[in-house]
Every structure is written in C-alpha cells, then in structure tokens.
C-alpha cells in the first residue's frame, strides 16, 4: 500500500495535469478547475468582460496549471495573473490587459484590507511645532498606487456593471489610486501633484520633505485636508517610524 503522502501527490498532480483521467477521478479535476476559474473570475471581472468568457476560461485553466493555488483561502488565489497575462501569447495584442489585471488585483485586496482609521487630530496637534516637519502621514491600508502607459482607470470604470464598456479615453498613460471609502472600493485617476504627494507618503516621506518638493508644495494646502477627509490619509507615523 502506498503511503498517504504519495497517494496525495499523485492525485494532486492528476488534478492539475492534462492527461485523461479515469471516469470518476475526472469529476474532481473538472470541479477543481471550475472552482479556480470562478475564483479568478471573481477577482478579475473586468478582464473577463474584456476578453469574453471562453477566452477567460481557457486562460484561467492555463494559469491554474502554471500557478497552482497555494492557499486554502481562495481569496488569495490569482495574484500572479497580471504577470501571467503579460506573457500569454493569445492576449499579446491586448497590451493594456496585464495592467488592468494589476488594477483589479489591487481592487480585490482593497475590499478586505484593514479598515481605515480617522486621522487623530488631537495627537497631531499635540506634536510640538518644532517637530512637525518630521511627521510622516500614512495612507489607509487599502490604498494602492498604480501607474500604466494605458488608461486603466478609464477602462476599468467603463467596464463596471451597468456601463457599456466604452472608456472615456482609449489611449494615454494613467496614474491611479485604489482606496476604500467605508466599504466601497474606489478607483481614482490622479493628477501629477496628487500622484507626487501620495507616492511620497507611501514611500514614508516626512512633511518637511513633502513641503520642499516643488511638485507638491503649491497644492499641499488643498490636498492634505482632501485626502484626510477621504481617510486616504489616515495615520501619523512619528519621526521614529521607519519608512513604509
């Protein structure tokens, strides 16, 4: 009798394999691939809509075989799909597709990221004026910043339920913030100074460094309250906090 580990290795290899399986074992392969397709489709609804169901399912099966699920929690499945699509020959003409997938993964992660706090103004006010330049404001846990040579936010927005799929822009680079307002995940295209500020905060820049940045300084007084009211800026890292 084979050891359990060996039986399980063989069976799992069969499930992810492509050679024909004996009748009843094939039920499991079909179920496994169908579950993984569904999980991938749940994380990447816009990619699915852009390429169509048949194309997506084929790509999903190839992805499963190249990147088998590594967790018992299916919400973690699909992280490498953007990288996979970038090398997936049948999708090579859709140059924007991998970046749309990157955006969708950020959206999926934002959905169950830790909740944002409200900025603690009392704590902020208590910091002595002479130390304020060293304050490092932090972004909410759901925040993600993405940059693409393609208009990924426009494409994403146009392919939300109820939209007809026609993006406002069909070419040009976009810089995007993914964040959560309450429980709703938002995708927002950023202007240059917005990108500069949020990028600097994400890298752990101090207020003094930000105020000295000519790309940010002219809009800083408008931006800080704006991002704070959206809880995109939601925390204070002190002078001792390591850059994130």
């Amino acid at each position: 009798m084979k050891p359990l580990a060996e039986m399980q290795r063989e069976f799992l290899a069969d499930l992810y394999g492509e050679s024909p399986l004996e009748g009843r074992r094939s039920v499991y392969r079909r179920n496994v691939l169908a579950n993984l397709r569904e999980a991938l489709g749940a994380a990447y609804p816009v990619v699915r809509r852009l390429v169509g169901d048949a194309f997506f399912d084929e790509a999903a099966d190839r992805y499963a075989r190249a990147h088998p699920s590594a967790s018992g929690d299916l919400h973690r499945y699909g992280e490498a799909f953007a990288a996979f699509l970038a090398r997936y020959e049948p999708a090579s003409e859709l140059e924007y597709l991998p970046d749309v997938a990157r955006l969708e993964w950020a959206v999926a992660q934002a959905f169950h990221a830790a909740d944002a706090r409200s900025l603690d103004f009392a704590a902020l006010g208590a910091i002595p004026e002479g130390d304020r330049g060293a304050i490092r404001l932090t972004l909410q846990p759901a925040a993600g910043l993405l940059e693409s040579p393609h208009p990924i936010a426009s494409i994403w927005s146009a392919n939300q339920p109820g939209r007809d799929g026609t993006p406002d822009r069909t070419d040009g680079a976009e810089r995007v913030l993914v964040h959560r307002e309450g429980f709703v995940v938002r995708v927002r295209e950023l202007g240059d100074s917005e990108w500069a500020l949020l990028g600097a905060l994400a890298r752990g820049a101090s207020l003094a460094e930000i105020a000295a940045d000519p790309a940010i300084a002219p809009t800083l007084a408008q931006q800080l309250p704006f991002w704070t009211s959206l809880t995109v800026i939601d925390g204070i890292g002190g002078p001792c906090s390591p850059p994130s």
């Binding site: 009843r24 074992r25 039920v27 088998p68 018992g72 169950h112 990221a113 429980f183």
Partner: protein
Amino acid sequence: MPPRAGIGLRAPHYAEAWERHPPLPLVEVHSENFFGEGGQPLAWLERFASRYSLSLHGVGLSLGSADALDERHLERLESLVRRFEPALVSEHLSWSAIDARHANDLLPLPFTREALDTVVASIGRVQDRLRRRILVENVSTYFAFSAASLEEWEFVAEAVRRSGCGLLLDVNNIWVNARNHGYDPRAWLGAVDPASIEEIHLAGFESEEELLVDTHGAPVADEVWTLFREVIARIGPRPTVIEWDTRLPALGVLLEEARKADEVLA
C-alpha cells in the same frame, strides 16, 4: 442553542437576511470568507453575530493532508474564533493540499489506518490551537481508494472518538456516498455515537449520469428528507443547517427548507 434549523448564509443574502430578521437558531458561514483584515465581510459578520448564534464552517484547512497543516491558515482561523467566539466551529474530514499546493476542494481520503492517524493528529492540533472542541463533517466522494481497510462510517466514527471532536453529520453526503459507492446509508446509524453528533447538514445533490454530485445547488431531495427523519428519530433533534452554494436561490427558498427541517426537529 436550540436544536432547530438554521441556514448557511452567503454574501448575496446578507442585506435581505438582515432586513427580514428571520427567527433562526444559528447562521453558518464559511470561515475563509472572513479571513481578511477588515472591510464589509467582517462588518456583516459582526452584525449577524450580534443577532444570531454563529457557526464557522471551514473549507480550506485540509485536515487530511499527509504533510503539516498550514499554520498561517490556522492562525487566521484562530483570530476569527477569538474575535467571534462562535457557538460552533467545524471543518471537513477530507484533504485538499500537499506540498503547499491546493486543490481547494474536499478530496477523498483513503480509509486507512495511516489516514486515520493523520486526521486525528490534525484535529488534535487544531483543537489545541483553538483551545476548543471542533466538529468534523463527513464529505461526499466520487471514487474510493482501493487501499481502504475501513468502511467510511468506521473511519469517521474512529476519527471522532479518538480525537474527541464532535461530528457534523451531513445527511446528504451519506445519501450521495451510499448511492455512489453502493452501500446502505443506514450502516452509518449504528456506527457513529449519537452523543458525538452536534450538528446536521442538509443540502441538495445533482445527478451526472451514474453519479450523484454534492453541488449544494438544489433543494434537499425526498430520499434525504426520509433519511434525515430516521436520523432524528434515532438520535433526537440537533441544530441543523441548510446549505446552498451554487445557483443560489432567493433567501425565502432557504428559509422554507429550514422550516421543513424544523417540522422534523419539532
């Protein structure tokens, strides 16, 4: 928790279930749907936990893997259990992963002594970590390993007895396996200790040629209702959950199934 019928609660039903406020003894959710650090799923669970007894039903721990349990998975489950202190915590007598590769499916175990030792050790590890008793559920299977040295009901009864866990008896899965593997479903009734059965599952199967497949995508079948009545007549009423996962119908359909189960449990 009264031995009455509750439902498996899925995301598309949250808002309606909250609004309608049906009188249920418990609601059951899949643990892994709440493994995130925040956001809407956990907020819903907080609301439902404030109103109902909660059952956390896991699908991804892979108790039957020949290699070690995924400690990160167990850690996430533990933090969920600490946060919600649910009335029931359950997993499946199956496996889904080896060498850190997952099938994310409830795969059959060979009913061997080695597999039995493996699940008993895993259940012990989980109960130690969670510092509480868990329930394990018998699963539907579509083929049986020829290496089996025990009958399925012996395997399950032994796993429960040796690990000191409770049994979540899935009556539909018994029926499905009895048909798929050609045995008498009543063989189970004499084999498992009635006192160990702390919860019952009911769900619908679908036929694929010769095979019954546990899709959780149909009403509970007449034959399964009959078997459920026999089980309850023999062991007495138990908390029972109606499960429905694929092609989820209106919430009212689940509540009606729960009402039918309540007639048997009353």
